[in-house]
Amino acid sequence: MGFKDWVIDFFSSFLIVIRRMILLIFTPYKTMRKISREKDFSQIVILLGLIFVYFQLSHYYRKEDFSGLIVYLIFLFGLFSTTGFFYFIARVFRQKTTFLSFLFCFTYSMVPTLIWFMSNFILYLVLPPPRTMSILGKGFSIFFTAYSLSLLLWKVILFFLSVRFSSRLPFFKILYMIFLYLCWFVPYSIVLYQLKIFRVPFI
């Protein structure tokens, strides 16, 4: 495959990623079902590339010891650990699952996280904290809470669908898997917070 073909493939994958990011807003169920059958690695590279750009940008304003690259590598470790964990548990319950399906779904489920962190970063520059008790301060606080909660609920839906379509397990087994996952992920997040790597877990 020549360079020209590679560029065309890359841009078509980029367009698919943008299209799916929009479709995940309107038809999360149908879109996640398609994503779980995906095999185009360029899409993962593009999404992880966007997250890498965010970490590099935010690093200039965070003023902390860890470089953007180290924080990004820790994020990658978390993502692959999560994927590996769910894949392993799903294999215990059921034989017919693939690691790729989990990887694609979990990478796409990072979209709400990326949007929240990116918008929070922009808001930090435009309206730097702390907020005050003025009417505008209160109004912004209510808006920001509602905005964050909306993205969190969207994230929960995508996360659940990721596990559902990748593992193809029933509801209670998925709940059990998520409970087991939180058993190690919550202490892991607290350790990262104590080390001042992530104030809010990049999940």
Binding site: F26, P130, I142, L149, I157
Partner: protein
Amino acid sequence: MDVGRVAFQKKLNEVFYLEPNNLGVGFLTNFYKRIVAHFKIAPFIIIIPFSFIFAGMVYLLLGYLLVKLVSLLQYGF
């Protein structure tokens, strides 16, 4: 005709890709299906009003603490 059959077969494969969820108890399964149906297509129609109502209620309950929490979250990027 064959094209139509292939498309129909493809659609069926998509629909039956997953076994339907069964929570064990009839009314629970029905309740689950009713709730989940709203989240399959355009979930933000429900999520956005719910979030604003919830945020307003939290502000009425916590007041200044919510403003402080938002300040903390803004440092969380």
